[in-house]
Symmetry: C2
Subunit: 120 residues, 2 copies
DNA sequence: ATAATTAATCGTATAATTGCGATGAACTAT
DNA sequence: ATAGTTCATCGCAATTATACGATTAATTAT
């Protein structure tokens, strides 16, 4: 979760908007997959073409430290999990949160929400 | 689409990774919804509680210029569309791209992809 | 012990995002 | 014409993200 308290409750003049936790979670997951390299990493992990950081650095043309940074972002978002297997670290999709993301994005973009648009 | 050519084809030593257009599109849509205010705006537009910028500025406690900036981000991502209705501007969900996003995220997070994980 | 391997973290530079007030453009109403 | 309304855009400041090389930590192999 990357968003600070300032977003949790916002005040201005008379109105107060409180973001539901769901909005914050969605935003942070969306942020995690808002970079093509991180999407690529998830695709590679999901397809089981590789699991170790080292293999990722061979496939994705970026510095090891950069890959590691992106892995951390995905880890923080809960989309992947790491298992230390010295001297390597094995990364996998976090299946539970993968399913949650599926439900969350699925219900967010669900067409039924748009049923009542009168104006366009 | 926010990502430059530098991402489209990346080279490093021997390897070359080319991002599929789909990865770029997903990343840019994810970026668009990576902020709770923009999620809020989409929810408001989807539920038809409002359509005009002015109404949004009453509900969301941020400066009008900030809301306008967020609307532009959603517009650039293709998630909403605007119709000038002087002196107001009416915003709506872009239904076509909403459906595309539904399919795209739905198939990205689809559980079947994870069938073959041997390592965890 | 020593060297080698793997990956996280640190420091740094650059770029992008976010938020705001002020201004400007387009149009309406008087 | 003049004033008012609505919203986009500009300019600025502060924060955050991105990428890299260098270093460090943890572990294995010799």
């Amino acid at each position: 979760m990357n968003y600070k308290k300032e977003y949790a409750i916002m005040k201005r003049s008379l109105s107060v908007v409180e973001y539901r936790g769901e909005e914050m979670v969605m935003a942070s997951i969306a942020k995690a997959i808002s970079h093509p390299v991180r999407i690529k990493i998830l695709e590679l992990l999901a397809s089981q073409q590789c699991c170790f950081t080292g293999e990722l650095t061979e496939i994705i043309p970026m510095a090891q430290s950069t890959i590691s940074q992106h892995l951390k972002a995905l880890l923080d978002a809960g989309l992947i999990q790491g298992e230390i297997n010295p001297p390597k670290v094995r990364y996998c999709i976090n299946v539970e949160n993968w399913h949650k993301a599926h439900v969350m994005f699925g219900s967010f973009f669900v067409p039924d929400r748009l049923s009542g648009c009168q104006c366009c």
